[in-house]
C-alpha cells in the first residue's frame, strides 16, 4: 500500500488502494475499453489483489455474491461500461433480493461524452437504481476514495446489499492526492437501527410468557447478524420449536430436536401446520416472503406476532406485527435473553412430533424405487458422503428444493442459494466465488440441467483458476420445476420444458474437467469419492427420473395448510 499521505495517484490506482484498504484480496471481472485504465493498474497490485477472469459478467456478479454469502464479507466484481455493466444486472438483482453485500465497479465513458450516446454508453446508475442498495457515479477523482469506502460501508452494514460505483474513464486516468478517509463513515441519511427500546423488549417477553403454542421463524437475518447462539438459547430456554426459511437454513443445526424443518411452499408439513396452529410467531430476520406465507388472509390467523428485523420497512409490510422491533437481531436478543424466563410446551411439541412422524412415512427415501435414480437419493447420498459438512450451492428448481429437504445443514452459510429472485444460472458461478472465500471447505454446486446451461461457460474460469468445485448436474432432461407446475396446473402440457441436452461429460472433457456420469444409485458413492479426490473442478452428471415431483407443495397463493402431499406407500 502507499504509505506516503501526499502521494499523487491515478484514479485507477486509487481504486486498487481503496480495495486493499477494505480488505479485498480477490475480484471477479471482465475487461473492456472504459475500464481498461483500472485493469492496467491491476498489474501493479497483482500479488495482493487477485483478479479472476470470468467468461461472462453475470458470472462475475454471482461469484462476488457467492463469495459474500460464504464469508459474510463484501464480494467485488468489476466490468466495463455498456454491455459489461448490463451483464451484471441479474447478479445485482439477485444480491439485492437476498441482501448479499457486493460492490460492483463499472467503467463509464469519459465525463464529456456522458449523455451523447457514446460508444458503449449506458446509464448504469439509472439501470441499476432499483436493484442496488445504493449506487454512485463518480464525477471527480477527489471523490473516488471516500466513495469506495462509503460503498463498502453501505454494502456490509444494516441490511446488506449490492452497491455499484460507476467510474468514468477520465476519472480513472485523472490524478489526485490519495487520501484514505480514516475513521468511521458519517452519512447523514444512513443510520440503520441497532438496539431495541426497553418497552419493546418487555412487550416481546410478555407475549412469549403468555404463549402456549409459540414457534420461531428463523430467517437469513440470523446468519447475517451472527445471532445463531442467541436464537438457540431463546429456543432452548423457552422450549420453542424452530422452523427455518430456505435462506435461514443453517441458522440453527438441523439435527437439533427443536428444529422442525423448513417452512413454506415446499416446506415440511409439520412446520406449515404448526404455523397455522401457533398462538405466537417469533419472526427473526425473515421477511414473510410469499413463498413462505401462502395466502396472507389465512396465514397464522391464531397467532400474535413478534417481528424483529433490521429493516424497519419490513415490519408490517406483509404481516402485521403485534410487537415489531427494528434492530440488529443479535443486539436485540442479547437485550432480551437476560430477562427471559424458562418455559416448556410439551403438548405443543408432542403435537408437532406427530406431524413429523406422519411426514417421514411419506418420505420418498422410504419407498422402493428399483431401476430409477431420484434427486432426493442423490442429494441425500452427497449429504452422507460429505459428512453433512460441505458448502452446497444450488441453482433454482426442483433440485434446489430437494437439496433443502434432503441435505440438513448444521452450520450457517453452508447452503448458498438464490431465494428471492430465484435466479437460474446462479449456482455454479456462486460456488466458484464461495471457494475463493472459503478455500478450505468442500464445495458442491448442485445444479439442474437447465440452469447449469445458463452459466456453464464459467467452466473455463474454474479450469483457468483451478478452482476445486464439484459440479453435480441433476439431469432430468426437463426444466423440472416448470414441468411440475405444468403437470399439476396445466394438464401435463409440457410446453417448452423438455430439453435436448449436450453430453455434459463430453462437454467437461472439452474444458478439461474430470467427470463421471451416474445412472444408478449404487454408482453414486464411487463418483462422489472420485470428485472428492481431485484438487480442481470436477463434474458429475446424475441422470435422474424425468418426472419426479417435489412434495409437499403449497400451490402459489393457496392457504399454507392446503398442501399437496405425497401419498403414503400403499395409499396411491
Amino acid at each position: 500500500m502507499v504509505e506516503e499521505a501526499m502521494m499523487k495517484l491515478k484514479g485507477s490506482e486509487i481504486i486498487m488502494e481503496s480495495l486493499l484498504r477494505e480488505g479485498v484480496d480477490v475480484m471477479f471481472g471482465y475487461p473492456g475499453g472504459a475500464i481498461l485504465p483500472t485493469y492496467d493498474a491491476m498489474s501493479l497490485y497483482e500479488e495482493r489483489l487477485h483478479h479472476v477472469l470470468v467468461r461472462h459478467e453475470q458470472g462475475a456478479s454471482h461469484m462476488a455474491d457467492g463469495y459474500a454469502r460464504a464469508t459474510g464479507e463484501v464480494g467485488v466484481c468489476i466490468a466495463t461500461s455498456g454491455p459489461g455493466a448490463t451483464n451484471l444486472v441479474t447478479g445485482l438483482a439477485t444480491a439485492m433480493m437476498d441482501s448479499s453485500p457486493i460492490v460492483a465497479i463499472t467503467g463509464q465513458v469519459p465525463i464529456p461524452a456522458i449523455g451523447s450516446d457514446a460508444f458503449q454508453e449506458t446509464d448504469v446508475t439509472g439501470v441499476t437504481l432499483p436493484i442496488t442498495k445504493h449506487n454512485y457515479l463518480v464525477t471527480d477523482v477527489r471523490d473516488l476514495a471516500y466513495t469506495i469506502k462509503e460503498a463498502f460501508h453501505i454494502a456490509r452494514t444494516g441490511r446488506p446489499g449490492p452497491v455499484l460505483v460507476d467510474v468514468p474513464k477520465d476519472v480513472q486516468n485523472a490524478e489526485t492526492e490519495f487520501v484514505w478517509p480514516e475513521g468511521d463513515i458519517v452519512l447523514p441519511g444512513y443510520d440503520p437501527p441497532w438496539a431495541a427500546q426497553t418497552h419493546e423488549i418487555d412487550a416481546a417477553l410478555r407475549l412469549i410468557a403468555e404463549a402456549e403454542r409459540p414457534i420461531i421463524l428463523a430467517g437469513h437475518g440470523i446468519i447475517m447478524s451472527g445471532a445463531m447462539n442467541e436464537v438457540r438459547e431463546l429456543a432452548e430456554r423457552a422450549q420453542i420449536p424452530v422452523s427455518l426459511t430456505l435462506l435461514g437454513k443453517g441458522a440453527m443445526p438441523e439435527d437439533h430436536p427443536l428444529v422442525i424443518g423448513m417452512m413454506g411452499m415446499h416446506g415440511e408439513a409439520s412446520s406449515n401446520l404448526a404455523i397455522q396452529e401457533a398462538d405466537l410467531l417469533i419472526a427473526l430476520g425473515m421477511r414473510f416472503d410469499d413463498r413462505v406465507t401462502g395466502n396472507l388472509k389465512t396465514y397464522a390467523q391464531n397467532a400474535r406476532k413478534i417481528h424483529i428485523d433490521i429493516d424497519r420497512s419490513e415490519i408490517n409490510k406483509n404481516v402485521k406485527a403485534d410487537v415489531g422491533i427494528a434492530g440488529d437481531l443479535k443486539t436485540v436478543l442479547t437485550q432480551l435473553l437476560p430477562k427471559l424466563e424458562g418455559k416448556s410446551h410439551p403438548a405443543w411439541i408432542g403435537r408437532i412430533r406427530d406431524w413429523l412422524e406422519d411426514s417421514s412415512e411419506r418420505d420418498i427415501l422410504n419407498y422402493e424405487t428399483p431401476g430409477i435414480l431420484l434427486t432426493a437419493q442423490v442429494v441425500n447420498d452427497i449429504w452422507k458422503l460429505t459428512g453433512g459438512d460441505a458448502i452446497t450451492v444450488t441453482d433454482v428448481g426442483q433440485h434446489q428444493m430437494l437439496e433443502a429437504q434432503y441435505y440438513p445443514h448444521q452450520r450457517p452459510a453452508t447452503l448458498l442459494t438464490s431465494g428471492g429472485l430465484g435466479t437460474m444460472g446462479f449456482g455454479f458461478p456462486a460456488a466458484i466465488g464461495a471457494k475463493f472465500g472459503k478455500p478450505d471447505e468442500e464445495i458442491w454446486a448442485i445444479v439442474g440441467d437447465g440452469g447449469f446451461q445458463m452459466t456453464l461457460c464459467e467452466m473455463a474460469t474454474a479450469v483457468q483458476e483451478n478452482v476445486n468445485v464439484n459440479i453435480a448436474i441433476i439431469n432430468n432432461n426437463f426444466l423440472g420445476m416448470v414441468r411440475q407446475w405444468q403437470e399439476l396446473f396445466f394438464e401435463k402440457r409440457y410446453q417448452a420444458t423438455p430439453m435436448v441436452n449436450p453430453d455434459f461429460c463430453k462437454l467437461a472433457d472439452a474444458y478439461g474437467i474430470p467427470n463421471r456420469c451416474v445412472t444408478q444409485r449404487d454408482e453414486i458413492e464411487d463418483a462422489v469419492r472420485f470428485a472428492q479426490g481431485i484438487d480442481g473442478p470436477t463434474l458429475i452428471e446424475f441422470v435422474v427420473e424425468k418426472e419426479e415431483m417435489v412434495y409437499p407443495m403449497v400451490p402459489a397463493g393457496a392457504d399454507l395448510h392446503d398442501m399437496k402431499r405425497r401419498p403414503k406407500p400403499g395409499e396411491a
Binding site: 499521505a5 445504493h134 457515479l137 487520501v179 480514516e182 441519511g189 424497519r312 408490517n316
Partner: protein, 194 residues
Amino acid sequence: MAEVKIDSKVTVVALVENEPGVLNRIASLFRRRAFNIDSLTVGRTHRPHISRMTIRVDAGPEYARKIATNLQKLVNVIDVRVIDNEPHVERDLALIKVRNDDADSRNTITEICDRYPARIVDVGPKVAIIEMVGTEDIIEEFIEQVRPIGIVEMIRTGVVSMGRGTRIHDTNFINRRALVEAASKARSSNGHNV
C-alpha cells in the same frame, strides 16, 4: 359550490441531499413500491446542500408510515417525518389564467378575488392571471368559484408544509466532500499521516 372535504390526506416531509439523481431515486422508489401520491414538491432550504420535500398522500397514516420507512432507507434521504395530526402550516400556490374579455367576467374575477387570499398579477385584453396562495382546500374551493368564468390554463405548485412552534426539522449536514476534506485537514494539522 365546492363540497367541503374531510381531509383524509397525510403529509410526509423529507430532508434530502441536494445531489444529482436524488429525485430520480425517490420517483423510482414510489413507482417500484406502487405508492400512490397526491403531490410532491421539492425546494431548497437555507442550507445549500439540503433540499426539502413535501409529499401528500391520499391515504391513512399507516400508508404514510410505509412511505416514510422506505424513504428513510434511501441513503440520500437525511430525515423523514410524517405530519399527521400535529399542528402545522401548509401552503399551496396556484396560477390560474382566466378569461377576461368582457365586463362581466372582469367584475366577477375582482369580486371573487376580494373574498380569497388571491390577487390578479397580470391583466391583458383577453385573459388575466390570478395568483392564489393558501391551503389545498381553499384553493380548490377558489378554483370552483372561477371555473364558470372560464379557466384557460392553470398550474399548482403542490403543497408545502411546516410544523408549527419550535418543532424543528433540520440538519447540520453540509456535504460529503467537505466533511471528508475537513476531517483529513484536521488530521494533517495534527501531524498524523494517513
